[in-house]
């Protein structure tokens, strides 16, 4: 694992969003993914959590996905949590408690951005809707990220990534014809929703720079997804063509043989355009190969050693290859199964044929020479997890940094720094918050590293 090399911060580790303070009320995936981006870009992201046992925040930190096996779960040792919360600070506040909410308001008053991904009416219930936020901080930028948005008749809908994908049309785009939708093997619209959240914050910051005014940006995860099926939507609104039709979705192909010859929203209708089994035949031993024109096809034939079958006239032109894909793919796969996937892709690429191995998560970390060269991963220390690999942002910027710098905060790690240092609470007031249920849940043991500040003013402290 290497630190990101070229394009490193030019001047003392400058970050694009330095000086921007974000109050992060988000949880689970979409919101935290957005604030992870903002934090890596240099914003001061203050993650507000309430880790009462059984709560979403508590469960989120306990998620077993990505926890080293044989480790007893606690609030500070899920790598899954740590990876999606790099470059943030953690403050614990009970927002159902008047005093907890009062502290939140004081925090908002000295911040630039509030972001959340609750269901649509939670903030109003807490009297923290946009109008109230404006009263606290006149030029606040408020980004809400909900399933269907804050307006429209179905605004109360709740989703997880997979059901958001279902409602947006994204799930339907994935699969083999005549089979159930294959869908997406992760919460694509949580990732995407978070990215739009970050974009909304930054574009609203520019607008504030120009006009002096903040605003509310009401994002809908499902709405962001629908636009990604835009060509299919126009095919419906312009041509009246339904997506539920024979041959759709066409697997990895641009068209499924034996079905009406229609465009299927994945670029030009060409063949070959598929994933092929490779040696030695393991679970992820596949390689995607595409020939976009006759020139690439002859190049591929050359890589295959100009076999007799490839000279058949039915394969000479693209239309024939599209029409005879079953035969074509069968023949190609007989060849690909003789080669290892990286070797295969490199041979194709050397001849100018687009081909890449299907890479698993392990492949990308351990075998992918490009991600390694570009410094996509960084190892960071963490008090609960030890040193672990983390992902960086997928771009370099010549003047500002894009690497992850700090693993996720421990729960409540920045209570004193933020509540005393930034908001001016006395040590005694902070300690009181641990006892009155506004800063720490009654039914949760206090973490050892918080014991001293929690004891302040109780008489137990020295």
């Amino acid at each position: 694992m290497s630190e990101r090399s070229g394009g490193q911060p030019a001047r003392g580790g400058a970050r694009a969003l330095e000086g921007v303070r974000v109050v992060d009320l988000s949880w689970v995936r979409a919101g935290p993914w957005g604030t992870r981006i903002l934090g890596t870009l240099g914003a001061e992201v203050i993650k507000v959590e309430w880790p009462a046992p059984g709560s979403v925040h508590h469960n989120d930190r306990y998620t077993n996905t990505g926890r080293p096996e044989h480790i007893e779960p606690n609030l500070n040792n899920s790598h899954w949590f740590s990876e999606k919360n790099v470059n943030k600070r953690s403050v614990t506040l009970n927002l159902r408690n008047l005093r907890g909410r009062e502290l939140l308001k004081r925090l908002i008053a000295v911040s630039d951005v509030v972001i959340e991904n609750f269901t649509s009416r939670v903030m109003q219930r807490w009297e923290l809707g946009y109008e109230q936020l404006r009263e606290i901080k006149q030029d606040i930028i408020y980004v809400s990220l909900s399933a269907l948005g804050h307006t429209g008749r179905d605004h109360p809908y709740r989703t997880y990534g997979p059901s958001a994908q279902a409602l947006s049309g994204m799930t339907f785009l994935s699969g083999l014809p005549g089979e159930p939708p294959a869908g997406w093997g992760w919460s694509y619209l949580d990732d995407t929703g978070g990215i739009y959240g970050a974009i909304a914050v930054m574009t609203a910051l520019h607008h504030r720079h120009v006009t002096g005014r903040g605003q509310h940006v009401d994002l809908s995860q499902v709405g962001s997804g629908i636009a990604l099926a835009g060509a299919a939507i126009l095919d419906a609104t312009v041509n009246g063509r339904p997506m539920r039709r024979e041959g759709f979705p066409p697997g990895n192909r641009t068209h499924w043989p034996g079905t009406p010859l229609l465009d299927n929203y994945r670029g030009p209708l060409v063949a070959p355009h598929n994933a092929y089994r490779t040696a030695p035949g393991g679970y992820n031993d596949w390689c995607a190969i595409v020939c976009r024109d006759d020139e690439q096809w002859s190049a591929l034939a050359g890589v295959m050693g100009d076999p007799e079958w490839a000279r058949a006239s039915r394969f000479a032109a693209n239309d024939g290859r599209v029409a005879h894909q079953e035969d074509l793919d069968h023949q190609i796969e007989a060849w690909t199964q003789t080669l290892e996937k990286y070797e295969l892709a490199e041979r194709c690429q050397a001849a100018g044929v687009p081909a890449m191995p299907v890479q698993s998560n392990e492949d990308r970390v351990t075998r992918d020479p490009q991600l390694r060269h570009r410094g996509m991963f960084t190892e960071l220390p963490h008090a609960g997890l030890g040193p672990m690999g983390y992902q960086n942002l997928p771009f370099r910027a010549s003047a500002t940094g894009t690497t992850s710098r700090r693993a996720a905060p421990l729960i409540g790690e920045h209570n004193r720094e933020v509540l005393c240092g930034l908001l001016g609470l006395s040590a005694e007031e902070l300690g009181e918050g641990y006892r009155d249920g506004s800063i720490w849940p009654d039914d949760l043991p206090i973490e050892p590293y918080l014991e001293a500040e929690a004891a302040a003013g109780s008489g137990a402290a020295s």
Partner: protein, 415 residues
């Protein structure tokens, strides 16, 4: 409220193909004046179907319409003697230059980031390419499918082995490697805009679609780092290394599907809510039993609960199932095609659809439009995608060319 989106004061020059046109479209939605530079005769993306009334024509590609609405378009041969300097002049008046040329090509033409940025240090020069500007795979040829293979998407999408042992890894359609790259290009550009507001400086952004795809696989990479496990594909739900997870996608009465995900922490309260609902159809099986009030029992009964749901859903349509679930606070969703989405009045309520005028066809068409509601700087699709070369004369005049100069460029074949 101001007219125009949050980037209404900015001008963008886009020299982008299929990899980058969505980023330009989003910038146009956000209010920027986006000038798309195409080769004479028009961009290859104009030859991607489907077409208006299925008639192939460079001005009738629906894909091109979608990805290029809100932009102005000029044609320019950047390799010609006159074209290069003209692009330089155009970029000199712009805030952002977005390009998807093969690495090194623009530098060879004297239009690289160092050259253009030394002329204008405020310029944000964004290069969006398959693998970034350096590295062993820099010059590899890709397509959307090929990127989704390398990026990790395919290894995570597909079918349970027991259902479909011969199925390949599946790349979801719709051009999502390009979307993912464009989303991160827009992140990079937006951050650079904020940085420029504070520092007065632009910069060069080197965005890799491969890195963007690899980052957009949720828990896969953290799973490997923390457990060393390879994730496996499952029909209609998250890939995972601990297999199998209960199914989440169920066939309904109308032959379509619902995604009814419930995770291991589903509460007894939730089980009771959907059991009571299913009981109205006589399909609750034993789920109303007292024993399901125990969280431990619920967690251990996930497979059984999935079987009960599997038997229940064929009694209702997917839309009925979706509405019934949402009315009960269950986060489930129908697997919709665009037809059902277009019929859903919620999006109408939200002003999501935009009817875009196509004067050249004497018609207007419904586009997906407002992906975000900005209260002080609303998004808009200000115009349909440009016809080939539609704004060449207009834009060249804006950068100070007179009619004679434009005519001589035309005569030289540069535009």
């Amino acid at each position: 409220m101001t007219a125009g989106g949050p980037l209404a004061d900015l001008r963008v020059v886009e020299l982008a193909g299929e990899q980058g046109q969505w980023c330009g479209r989003l910038l146009a939605d956000l209010g920027a004046d986006v000038i798309k530079v195409e080769p004479p005769g028009g961009a290859p993306e104009r030859r991607v179907g489907p077409y208006h009334h299925d008639e192939p024509h460079p001005d009738r590609s629906l894909s091109f319409w979608h990805y290029n609405s809100g932009k102005r378009g000029i044609t320019l041969d950047i390799e010609s003697a006159e074209g290069g300097p003209m692009l330089r002049r155009l970029v000199a008046g712009a805030d952002v230059f977005l390009e998807t040329q093969p690495p090194g090509r623009l530098a060879a033409l004297g239009l690289g980031p160092d050259e253009l940025r030394s002329a204008d240090p405020r310029l944000i020069y964004c290069s969006l390419t398959p693998f970034g500007q350096d590295g062993p795979w820099r010059d590899f040829q890709t397509t959307d499918l090929v990127q989704l293979a390398a990026g990790g998407q395919m290894a995570q999408c597909g079918y349970d082995e027991e259902d479909n042992p011969d199925a390949p890894p599946i790349a979801p359609g719709g051009g999502n490697a390009w979307h993912i790259g464009c989303h991160f290009a827009l992140v990079a550009i937006s951050a650079a805009i904020v940085y420029r507001d504070m520092s007065g400086e632009g910069q060069h952004l080197d965005v890799s679609i491969h890195e963007a795809c690899s980052l957009t696989t949720e828990s896969a990479i953290p799973t490997y780092f923390s457990t060393g496990r390879v994730v496996r594909r499952q029909t209609g739900r998250h890939s995972a290394w601990s297999m199998p997870r209960p199914r989440t996608q169920y066939l309904c009465k109308d032959g379509t599907y619902i995604n009814a995900m419930f995770n291991q922490r589903i509460s007894p309260e939730r089980v009771r809510i959907f059991a009571e609902w299913m009981d109205e159809y006589g399909a609750a099986a034993d789920l109303l039993d007292e024993r399901y009030r125990d969280a431990q029992v619920v967690e251990e009964s996930q497979e059984h609960i999935a079987d009960v749901l599997h038997a229940f859903f064929p009694q209702v349509t997917a839309e009925e199932a979706c509405r019934g679930a949402q009315e009960r606070g269950l986060p489930w969703g129908a697997v919709r095609s665009v037809d059902e989405i277009l019929a859903d009045p919620h999006w109408e309520d939200r002003g999501y659809w935009v009817d875009v005028e196509h004067p050249e066809l004497g018609d207007s068409f419904r586009y997906p439009g407002s992906w975000g509601l900005y209260s002080d700087s609303p998004l808009a699709i200000t115009r349909r995608a440009p016809l080939v070369g539609e704004h060449t004369a207009e834009v060249l005049a804006e950068i100070g060319l007179d009619a004679g100069e434009i005519e001589s460029l035309r005569a030289a074949g540069a535009i």
